[in-house]
Symmetry: C2
Subunit: 202 residues, 2 copies
């Protein structure tokens, strides 16, 4: 829980808050699309949890920006920060709307699936099989973003989802990865996870 009484103004906090909100809102859109494409209630629930987090961040950020404004020029610039924060909040709301659709079990209309076709090319869900070279490596070792132009946005491990995993995370056999990226890199990642591509040689 966030304890609002303890909040003190630090410039670095406003920056970090905005960076986190922006990154989270974009992640949420891709997770919401993934939830719809792969019909995953769990992913949809993760999106709704992230939406609550973004809502808290908006509130904290608004307090920070008010405290940070020392003169009219400051206030003008910080109004810009506040507007970008509001925009990321809208984007996260949109992601939550799509997630709710999945949770209500309305089912995905073929028309929606068609609209998500382009998304399908840049999002994938793959399981890591026993002979995959990804097993035992950290995301930092693999440098998938640099090597394949692909980001791992979520890992399903046993019953849990690890959202936006960090560089130290080690990949295990049986992990299911949700990844986004350029279509070619996505194809290559699918091969690596399925043990069909045995070398990451870019």
């Amino acid at each position: 829980m966030v304890d609002f009484e303890k909040i003190q103004y630090k410039p670095v906090s406003v920056r970090n808050l905005l960076v986190e909100m922006k990154d989270l809102s974009e992640l949420m859109i891709d997770l919401a699309y993934s939830a719809a494409l792969f019909n995953s209630r769990e992913l949809a629930e993760e999106v709704l949890e992230l939406e609550e987090r973004v809502d808290s961040l908006v509130y904290i950020l608004e307090m920070h920006t008010m405290l940070a404004a020392r003169d009219a020029e400051d206030a003008k610039l910080l109004a810009g920060v506040s507007r970008v924060a509001a925009a990321t909040d809208k984007i996260s709301d949109a992601a939550a709307d799509i997630a709710i659709l999945v949770l209500k079990e309305i089912g995905i209309h073929p028309i929606v699936r068609e609209a998500f076709k382009k998304v399908e090319e840049r999002l994938t869900r793959v399981e890591i099989v026993h002979n995959s070279i990804l097993i035992g490596k950290t995301l930092g070792d693999l440098e998938l973003a640099a090597n394949l132009g692909v980001d791992i946005i979520a890992i399903r491990r046993l019953k849990e989802w690890i959202i936006n995993p960090d560089e130290e995370k080690v990949l295990n056999e049986g992990d299911t990865l949700i990844a986004r990226g350029a279509p070619l890199g996505i194809k290559e990642l699918e091969g690596l996870a399925a043990g069909k591509v045995q070398k990451l040689d870019h």
Copy 2:
């Protein structure tokens, strides 16, 4: 102008409308970020024009979905279409909010610039110089998406912006391109436009 009286229900229309709305809303976010990063009033104005287009599309789509519902099951599925349409509308509103920030000349706070840092790696603005191999080629010839993992989202030619250019568009000397994609592909495109890379050999 859209003439609402002439609208007739065709299943293909609903699909096309939703696909266009979804693609436009994502394009708008990247254009809005580009407008902020490159401090471009013209790009910001393009975003606001697209936002009006999305608003019209929402209205037409709502009419179509109502006319399309023949029974309760239909209505349930089409409610899902309508919800996804509303989500794309929210995303396009968020893009417009950022564009307005640029038009109001509030200036981009360093904090906002920091939040856009990751965006900066996947968006670029480059001019095509006299000895670039891109000159005289169509976007279809170049297959930049397949070859570099990069999409051209806008071309500035003389005083005009061509938004979301199609495959037949021929590139000219002096064109300014706004492109999005994987960081490596973005770097390569910059080299090609600047005439420093003389071969597209992927």
